[in-house]
Amino acid sequence: MFVLVVGSGRVGSSVATAALRAGHTVSVLDEDPLSHERLDVELGQGWEEAGGRFTIGTALEMDALTEAGIDEADVFIASTNGDNTNLVVSQIAQRRFDVPKVVARVLDPRRAAWYAEQGVETICPTQIAIEQLVAAALVEAD
């Protein structure tokens, strides 16, 4: 599959690396050239040498999205550090580019829940952390 990852911080770069290792075609878009180094380090070799693609640009730039290959993408992952950026760019991927699978990382549980109801698939790390912390704390308390 062709996987496009927008936002290559800790989460995005690890997801991109995992997808590349799993044999997928992976393209990464990030505004910070430094995030390219993170990919190299995560992978233990040069990102492009291993077959990865990298584009410098911001998430809402149509030119950057096109250059990163959004037209061919089967999977679109929005993992920038901005909830609103992720929610907006995910909807663009869905509605303008008809990407079949779109997932957005959203830190705010309420925004994540409401947009999920509207048909945007969201992953909320905060909610996951809350549930695990509560579970861990209750286990400790028992």
Binding site: L60, N84, L87, V88, I92, D108, R110, R111, Q118
Partner: protein
């Protein structure tokens, strides 16, 4: 238009001045500002009419009373925030009227895609004004009706343009464009199919938006642009 309840997201220069004007006109206003220092500055004047918080957080919007808002205006410096605030106001809280500020005019299409209208871009407005004042390639926008998808432009026919010396029916205009008037020697007339277009004529063309380039290519020759 008396007695509206207006929520303004962002207490920058636009948001603050907008709040002042609306309060002066007798409307009820709540401004939401997420920068603590800015909030404290604005609060000295607007007092209870400004609240501290991130307007993209649902609870902050609810605290401001978005359920009863007649109008939500998102004028922060961040287009994603403005888009999201308006989308939530419209689709979650069913607010009937929204107005969004677009900071980067390239993002206008995203607002349109997600149904956030009207979206106002100061940069775009100024660009259009400049286009009117300083016609580039001899092209002036006389009328823009984006909702109706209709425009009228004015062009000066250049010396070596494909259209110069041709009859109207021979013009290679795209589908959706029509020459409605020709101005020659200070007077205008409605051309017929066999009217010959001359260089130096000012032609008015009605068109579907987006056809400007194809039309310009007929009336203004490439070589004539360089001058």
């Amino acid at each position: 238009m008396a007695g509206l309840y207006v929520i303004i997201a962002g207490a920058g220069k636009v948001g603050w001045n907008l709040a002042r004007e609306l309060i002066d006109k007798g409307h009820e206003v709540t401004v939401i500002e997420q920068d603590r220092r800015r909030y404290l500055t604005v609060e000295q004047e607007l007092e209870h009419a400004v609240q501290y918080g991130d307007a993209t957080e649902l609870w902050v919007l609810e605290r401001a009373g978005i359920q009863r808002a007649d109008l939500v205006v998102a004028v922060t410096g961040d287009d994603e925030d403005n888009l999201l605030i308006c989308q939530v106001a419209k689709e979650k809280y069913l607010c009937e009227r929204i107005i969004a500020r677009v900071n980067n005019p390239r993002n206008l299409e995203h607002f349109k895609l997600l149904g956030i209208q009207p979206a106002v871009s100061a940069t775009d407005l100024i660009l259009r004004l400049i286009e009117h004042e300083v016609p580039r390639y001899g092209l002036v926008h006389l009328l823009d009706l984006p909702e109706e998808r209709l425009e009228i432009i004015e062009l000066v026919v250049s010396d070596t343009a494909p259209a110069a010396g041709r009859r109207v029916l021979e013009l290679e205009l795209p589908e959706g464009a029509l020459v409605i008037s020709v101005l020659r020697n200070g007077s205008g007339f409605v051309p017929k199919a066999d009217t010959v277009v001359e260089s130096g004529d000012e032609v008015l063309v009605v068109l579907d938006p987006g056809l400007e380039d194809a039309i310009t290519a007929q009336f203004v020759a490439d070589g004539d642009l360089e001058e």
